[in-house]
Symmetry: C2
Subunit: 465 residues, 2 copies
């Protein structure tokens, strides 16, 4: 940054919020590993002194306890961001990406994984939100319209050049320009295919599963997903119920949320094969590239899908190199933000593996639709065998919530990354001082004084099995 006589606009603040929704009180979101999540966001707002008044919003999704650690990690990045020129930042988020990932002291806390890396993702996603607002475009469109050489410069190729070089990335992006205008028009008309997980949470009884599965099909979804992995007899019964309701023409995905070891994953998936599952998702540890490869060899033709917990481009590179996955499930807020997801989309394109993003949680649908839409318009050029996860949760808290029509995500048209939450939601669900949590604690204190310690304890420690 060089000083300018025009006194260019600067980033003036990196504001954070610890936002938690009390979702564990319902059984929405329950799966074999996460019985009682409180869907949460470590939320960041970049403020500037630009006259346009735009802010950049971003967040990391968590499921409750530890959200404060994630907020602390975002705050540790503040010194890299405050004071940057807004023009320079938005013209080249890749430079900040390299500065954040390359901070030699913070790097020790990863590198490029876990809490610190997700914090980098939250900040960079906020930068892209700001850049898209300033460009008066939804993010998918900003990316799809961008010069391929500029996009390549947004990517950190460190550790992936053995699988994807900058030259190969440029070729893929240049090829992606062919027919992009037609695809953009088609996207605006039809939207992007979605599948729904809303029917299949573990906590739902068969009647609810059955009702929601039927409604999903009636609503136009061509794929639904069931959580599995807690009890095999239950899973067999639930798959039978779901397959019976949706019939043979609807894809039925199953998701074990990392529940199994390798051998168990193979046995369990084979035991569910009679219900023709389209994919088995997260059969084992997200770190286990070789384990996924072994499972894939054993359970074919059932496909193997993973990625929502794959912590960076290097893990995705290896999943592809090892032939470990049929379906790549990137997440908008797990890795280092848009820049790293550009690398992951291009790796998938290079290896010819379809991307079906993870979504749900808080705002993940809002974010990730932009990445898939960019992929369709300007990278893979197709939606064949590609679907974005959809979960009908918490969209009401967003200023530009996703719109689902006939089982498709409608393409966002408002400028930005659809990341901004309603101010009143932030005020209500800030933990522990927001109006919801303050009243909740107050109820506990006055309703039943003996419970006070239990209540505080519950917020600190697992009440999970």
């Amino acid at each position: 940054m060089s000083p300018s006589p025009a006194s260019p606009a600067r980033v003036t603040a990196v504001e954070t919020h610890d936002i938690r929704f009390p979702t564990s009180r319902e059984l929405d979101g329950s799966d074999a590993m996460n019985p009682d999540p409180d869907y949460s966001a470590a939320y960041v707002v970049l403020r500037t002194d630009a006259e346009d008044g735009h802010e950049g919003h971003g967040f990391t999704f968590t499921i409750g306890r530890g959200n404060e650690v994630q907020v602390a990690a975002i705050e540790a990045l503040r010194g890299h961001v405050v004071g940057l020129s807004v023009d320079e930042l938005c013209a080249d988020p890749g430079t900040l990406n390299r500065a954040l990932v390359g901070d030699s002291q913070l790097r020790w806390l990863g590198p490029e994984k876990g809490v610190m890396h997700m914090a980098i993702g939250a900040v960079l996603n906020a930068v892209w939100d700001l850049a898209a607002k300033r460009a008066h475009k939804p993010l998918w469109r900003l990316l799809a319209d961008a010069d391929p050489e500029w996009l390549v410069r947004q990517i950190d190729f460190r550790y992936i050049t053995d699988a994807l070089t900058p030259g190969e990335a440029l070729s893929l992006l240049s090829r992606g320009r062919q027919g992009a205008d037609e695809r953009r028009a088609r996207l605006l008309e039809r939207g992007y295919p979605a599948y729904t997980t809303s029917a299949g949470w573990l906590g739902y009884d068969d009647a609810k599963l059955s009702r929601l599965a039927a409604r999903a099909v009636a609503d136009g979804f061509r794929q639904i997903k069931l959580k599995v992995g807690a009890d095999l007899a239950d899973d067999i019964r639930r798959c039978r119920v779901a397959r019976g309701v949706v019939g043979p023409g609807i894809r039925l995905a199953i998701d074990a949320n990392q529940r199994w070891d390798v051998e168990e994953a193979i046995r369990w998936t084979k035991a569910l094969a009679e219900f023709d599952p389209y994919w088995i998702e997260e059969p084992t540890s997200p770190d286990d590239v070789l384990g996924h490869a072994a499972i894939r060899r054993a359970v074919a033709p059932v496909r193997v899908a993973t990625g929502e917990h794959a912590h960076n481009r290097i893990v995705f590179k290896q999943l592809l190199q090892a032939g470990a996955i049929d379906v790549l499930q990137l997440d908008a807020a797990r890795v280092g933000g848009v820049n790293e997801n550009l690398a992951i989309l291009l790796l998938a394109a290079k290896f010819g593996v379809p991307v079906c993003p993870h979504a749900g949680g808080v705002g993940l649908c809002e974010l990730v639709q932009h990445l898939s839409m960019f992929d369709y318009v300007a990278v893979s050029g197709t939606t064949d065998d590609r679907v974005i996860e959809y979960v009908d949760h918490l969209h009401e808290h967003f200023l530009d919530p996703v719109v689902i029509r006939e089982g498709h995500y409608a393409a966002p048209t408002r400028p930005g990354f659809s990341a901004a939450m309603r101010p009143e939601s932030i005020a209500r669900y800030t933990f522990p001082g927001g109006t919801f949590w303050a009243a909740d604690l107050d109820d506990t204190l006055h309703g039943n004084p003996e419970n006070k310690d239990d209540k505080l304890h519950e917020n600190k420690k697992g009440h999970a099995a």
Copy 2:
């Protein structure tokens, strides 16, 4: 925990300290990725109301910025620990291990990697320190004397049973009992072989390198290590200097600290092959199992070593399954503590790969010696091709510092895990309020008022290249 009429001793507090040493002002510790570390510890003390007055001490090592995030992560675990029965906790740390790793909400922040997982390691290591003190044994001895079936119960086998089953672990540990008494006596007499990194930091000039390398040999070390990876011409010159000084009979390891992509690692290592490097350490991303395997195939007979940033047993499992490493470099404070390192030691034994731990930093030598000594006495049964890293840094801050004699670590005899720092060091180097940092900031303020903002900024943001 059930209430007891005898009112058993409980854990009463999980106290944390953000401790930072200003090591960046020297060039000790400089390498190709970490030019200016401030060696730090996110430090934890478990206090109890037991009459013996013992405390459990543990820590995560970091290199400066972000140490406060690591402290916040340890604090997020407090609710799992405070109130536990000290007897039950020390009789079975494995139960707490499973509770911490299995906390479904905190798990989302990893799983089992990065800031949250290192925090679990700090807490569990503190538990083992407490258990060893209460048993009146140094930790290596507590482990070596333990019943093999009990040790197996300390291990979380989730995600590793495709490589190591509990039955196999029990066989390895039972076999390890044969001759353990003789080995223990030999260990107490001779110590455990060390190698030194103190000569080879990138920031040292050739004269200093030369002088320190000669002194290392004179001091009895049979292996030294040089940092490489910043500039090939420099590396060739420095390797020539070092090899010239130590002669052909001393092992010369080289360490790139993750500097390279796969192809670059192969080219660079081959360019240094004429100096007969014993191993190339961390040639690329610690996440890149397949990359390490490709490098190993290409650079043999130079060995490939990694592990100080391998984030859990699942990564080590794959490094071994893929034939990616010749030398396994576990770290005492990177993974989930002693319990996870038991799994890693047994995986190494199963695959017949020698363990040469990473050490240095703050207190890593103090901790990791216990693991290698246990491995020698009761698992691998040998020190052939096994050495513990030694760096001559900051030992003066520990109450039971390592003792090096004739290039060997002397076996600790004081009860515990050698983890406790001197109270006066904690008071002086607590950041930012300890006497050192307070005075340092004060100097800056009064010495040169204009520098105040720069100084604060420096502590928040990288001044690295």
